[in-house]
Symmetry: none
Subunit: 215 residues, 4 copies
């Protein structure tokens, strides 16, 4: 994707520390000085390798988006032969896993969450490269469960309900920590959360076909 695959040591070090700091501080608060200091590189190296701060951010985004979605694709563990319910469980597990801090690189999920609520000019890249494909996959699963077409409004609403639950544990992490210290903090609970959300959502969609829900 990037024509410059030439990875000098400095270039790689900068991208790594940049990702970490961008994730921690956000694009505008992060300073290239800090990034370079942590990378053990000279300030001008950013200009040399990436043009400017924006270029660096973009490179980090593209590079790690690719890497993460190769390691943890949305359809991780999903096979065509599975029943829709099993597909949903696999999807949710993959989704949650991808968002936890112990995946590699550990800060990418946080950087993504930042773009979610406070999108920068680079947001569209994420939407098209990561979010839309992921959402489409979910919509297909939900559509199969509901017996409707993927672009049906109810399918979308239910998909969003599912995504919303998953995202809550990432986006609202600061809140959760304060409300229930040490209860939901460590990542070892992915299985429990997967089961909960899967069960909650399957039930949530269960009798939707029979009930007339519109006012």
């Amino acid at each position: 994707m990037d024509k410059k695959k030439n990875a000098s040591r400095t270039r790689l070090a900068i991208m790594e520390s940049a990702g970490k700091i961008f994730a921690e501080e956000g694009f505008s608060k992060a300073t290239v000085r800090d990034i370079c200091r942590e990378a053990g590189a000279n300030i001008a190296a950013v200009n040399y390798h990436f043009g400017d701060k924006k270029g660096l951010y973009l490179s980090v985004l593209k590079h790690y988006q690719e890497m993460v979605f190769q390691t943890y694709p949305p359809d991780f563990g999903i096979t065509a032969a599975q029943k829709p319910e099993e597909k949903l469980r696999a999807y949710i597990r993959s989704f949650l896993t991808r968002m936890m801090d112990d995946v590699h690189p550990p800060w990418f999920a946080r950087l993504l969450a930042r773009e979610f609520t406070e999108p920068t000019w680079a947001f569209d890249i994420l939407v098209e490269g990561s979010i839309r494909p992921s959402f489409q996959l979910l919509a297909d699963i939900v559509a199969a469960i509901l017996g409707k077409k993927p672009d049906d409004r109810r399918v979308r609403l239910c998909s969003m309900s599912i995504v919303g639950q998953c995202l809550y544990f990432r986006h609202s992490n600061p809140v959760i920590i304060r409300l229930f210290p040490r209860e939901f903090s460590d990542a070892g609970q992915i299985e429990e959360l997967t089961e909960h959300i899967t069960f909650f959502s399957l039930n949530g969609m269960a009798k939707a076909k029979t009930k007339n829900k519109r006012r």
Copy 2:
């Protein structure tokens, strides 16, 4: 709550424009220059009235948190006589309404969303003043529905599932706009969303008691 109730015209104007700009730009990107310019006040006015930028932010937060939660309390429309299902519906409607931009002041929801994912040092004030009481109220409702105690782990999980769905439409607004332009944009859909989330969640919790969920 604020000991300085002496509200000079300048002081009020600053707080108003500060809220708007803080919500738009975030604490660190917002500049006191812009705030003062929009308020028609002198730059030094901020330090004079609020000590420093932090003090201004704090004042804004406290002032409008109080105002908003008096106008749209979490238990808005909830009466003791209602059935838990109705209480839940009322809670969700109140929650969604509070998060939409047409409440007053129109920017407060956005400022809150910002603190959610990117908490500043002022975050604890919001947690204790707004979030915890609100969550507690929901936990009580869910507990009644599930027939469990409010601090039960399953109650918490289900509560978070509900909150997660609601927050999605605020936190992920930029995503939704790009994925489905014009389909979920205007605020007139609160009723539909309320029905969907309520229905989805009630079903999601429905057979939880009977089914053995852990594998």
Copy 3:
């Protein structure tokens, strides 16, 4: 012309040292750091008083252009009753005087010369504010001498011949110094130069009417 006539001490000091340094180094080589250091002011003062480096340059240009042309107007010493020959002599004397370093401020002529050969974006201001009126005045005098209209091509050529001679002593000052050290350096020779150029030019235009000059 400038709405900000409020002249704080710092503001004035900056404009003065700015003019001097801009004249010495040119716009891009001059640094605001040097300017402020010489003015005994803080770096940020430039931003506060003039917006940015460009704004400072512009203010300096406008301010001193006005000042110089009030002190040494192109028609200095010219009265309607004079004969054209006397008008020309007065014009040339005024022109030369304005360009010498002992007028106030001493660096303005140099700054102007710079814009002449290396115009910046601010050049048009000088053309319209100083150069065009001055040239027009000369063209009128020459037209009277030649008995032609001011926009006649020959009038223009002769006017340019006159201006060219005057400018030479400013624009080519570095050359003159090297070719004839100490012979044309001091400003006390304005009278001599005035006489020479006036005489040379009057003669140059003298028989133009009779001779068929075009090939």
Copy 4:
């Protein structure tokens, strides 16, 4: 003149683009990056071939000064048998031609003009190599016309008057363009200018011998 005559392709390409860019931007505004990019060379090539930026500038100056003054010498078209008046005409034509952009390389005149009003440390090279010989030649012609010695003060004044007129069309080109758009722009007017300046100057010097000019 240059001891390094070993002209690798890169070295030549750099000198060419360097000349162009130096002429356009001036020494300090021109960047070695731009020069090398336009030459299709590596950044480090400048330091490798010329030591540093100054060395490059110097090489360009020397090289093209030599080239230009071999192609268009000041005495171009002047023979010993001519009358002084004809010599003057030939000198002026050669001078004007050399300054117009259609000589080769097209940017050298501009670079020279720059050094005239804003001399760098390399100026002395130009003075001794180009300017002084050229001026001396003119002084000889003028001396013959006036019947005085070449180092006579009046000879110098008149020579400067002549040079001043010629230079005006180069040094003040930006002004002329703005004052009279499209009237003096193209280079096809060299003959007309030659005639005008020659005639104007010959007349200017004509009766100088008889008239008592000092007051």
